[in-house]
Symmetry: C2
């Protein structure tokens, strides 16, 4: 198993990426191919005492940044560390690719360099979110602004296969359609049509789920168009941030409240862990012909290591093959 890792993606690149890659190579025994400036990688590794044994480097000095147009990965930045990694993946030099870099560029590069599975209309970016009952998958969260009903059905199939294979030990998982009410007739044209398709799909379809119930984790896979999914992902972060900031400031009111804060602090660790999604190993880009994982831009070594572990599982467990078969089956039945 060889995982290709973009050493220059994200806020903490290259140090935390190299660290995480070295830890993964050591702990999981996977081969690692780092893409990026070889001289910088070697210098940073030497300065930090990171052992590069079992890690090969593909020299790609250019970097695509968050500010660059996603499309530039095919043009001005076609030789950047991310593009180079995707090309090596497409050429079969590695089994999966991990990057903490620009999401837009990764979707663009993934779609045009790695290419989609035959029959898949659009690749979807799928995140694992903390639910009250455990983690659940939300997709699409940004790959597609305007979605058609058939795309939502494919997202449902792809999400189910991934969650069942990677998170659920092969057990069947439930799928819900994000909507403005639980009744079958809720929503706009997109939801009406997607609901009808999902109901007939053979998926373990739990029907519509309201936004209010999403954080409870009432389904394993929550399907939405990319616009709505992105809003859900970012609003969840925003509401949690504002609320926790406000609660923190209450604890800072005076000496007595500070004492209460000191008492409670160690007990909040469990909650923090529950809300931390970095151990789930990042967001898969589903629908591509090879496994690609996006890790959060602020990923530290541990998150990178976990993403590499999950990328290896993504490749091992035949997720791509299962998606390919599911897409073929649905297109044959005329869906």
């Amino acid at each position: 198993m060889r995982i290709i890792v973009d050493a220059f993606g994200g806020d903490n690149a290259p140090l935390e990426i190299i660290r995480g890659a070295a830890q993964a190579a050591n702990e999981y025994g996977v081969g690692i191919i780092l893409t990026g400036s070889e001289s910088i990688i070697r210098r940073v590794a030497a300065e930090d005492g990171i052992d590069l044994n079992g890690i090969s480097i593909v020299d790609a000095p250019d970097v695509i940044s968050m500010e660059d147009e996603p499309r530039s990965i095919l043009k001005e930045h076609k030789d950047c560390s991310m593009a180079e990694g995707l090309r090596r993946l497409a050429a079969g030099e590695g089994d999966a690719f991990v990057s903490a870099g620009s999401t837009g560029a990764l979707i663009m590069g993934g779609t045009f360099i790695v290419k989609r599975i035959k029959g898949v209309s659009r690749a979807a970016l799928a995140v694992l979110m903390p639910g009250d009952k455990g983690p659940f998958m939300l997709l699409d969260v940004g790959a597609n602004a305007d979605s058609r009903p058939e795309m939502l059905l494919q997202f449902a199939h792809m999400g189910s296969i991934y969650m069942s294979s990677i998170m659920g030990e092969g057990k069947p998982v439930t799928v819900g359609l994000v909507n403005v009410g639980t009744e079958d007739t809720k929503g706009g044209e997109l939801q009406h049509a997607a609901f009808a398709l999902m109901k007939e799909s053979g998926l373990n379809f739990a029907g519509n789920i309201e936004a209010r119930d999403i954080p409870l984790g009432v389904v394993d896979v929550a399907v939405a168009d990319g616009f709505t999914g992105n809003v859900i992902l970012k609003l969840t972060e925003g509401v949690a941030d504002v609320l926790l900031k406000n609660i923190k400031s209450v604890f800072l009111t005076n000496a007595v409240t500070k004492l209460a804060g000191l008492i409670i602090k160690p007990y909040l660790k469990g909650l923090k862990k529950k809300m931390d999604t970095s151990e789930y190993g990042g967001a898969p880009l589903l629908g591509l012909s090879k496994p690609v994982i996006k890790t959060h831009g602020n990923s530290k070594a541990a998150a990178v290591k976990n993403a590499i572990r999950v990328a290896a599982e993504f490749a091992e467990k035949g997720v791509i093959e299962q998606i390919s078969m599911a897409v073929k089956a649905t297109s044959e039945t005329g869906e």
Copy 2:
């Protein structure tokens, strides 16, 4: 000033509605017209010692429930307390209408009994949300599942006028378009077209706002299609509920954490107040030819009282006339 109040809308009807109406009559000196079963209203008032002086009653024994189809307000339930109130409003017997009943029925009844302002494509339900920097308005939150760009522009005008008149003492307010990024080119077709319209509108347009920034209250009026707005409203409640429930359970871990909980409890009041939107007086239904306010289904007397106060301001401050002029002006310039 006479406010018509649906005495049989919401979970706590009729007692809390009658209480709130009596308090408003007493504190603000507004005339109140209650719609609903006169015999029940008189009995409940007598049992609870509520003074009905200055309150007239229009007997309408039927009630439309949350489970009834919204459309039934025009058919099977055309004589319910909500429909009767809307008819009296349309006939000019009162200056504004307040209900805690079914949102769907209120939108349906408002649109077909009270009717829209000439030139308004769709009425929008607008909620006041707690923002970190203070309350802000979010619209539309559910009146319209499929929206066109011109509707979003009208929502922006209507929301600005309301917020400036009722919450901002006539001062100009900022408007943002909910989107998946802050750059001008973000989003799907609907957002692209709405952005262009808003930019040229003469509104104090702050551009696109990301879902992550919505809870901060970065703009006074956040505009979204009804589907997205509804998801934002309900997800905000859902995330806050799950988070607070989890924090509460941390405080219940053991005797020491319970002590910390007792210490901090009184200090959390300020935060609770900040998050409580009931004092803002409910959600206006904007675009109708008369003021209609929806209060939360779980409203208690204080929330009903506040809604009546705001309904009176809604009527007094000429919001409807301003919306009518703005709509006329934009349609004349060809927008």
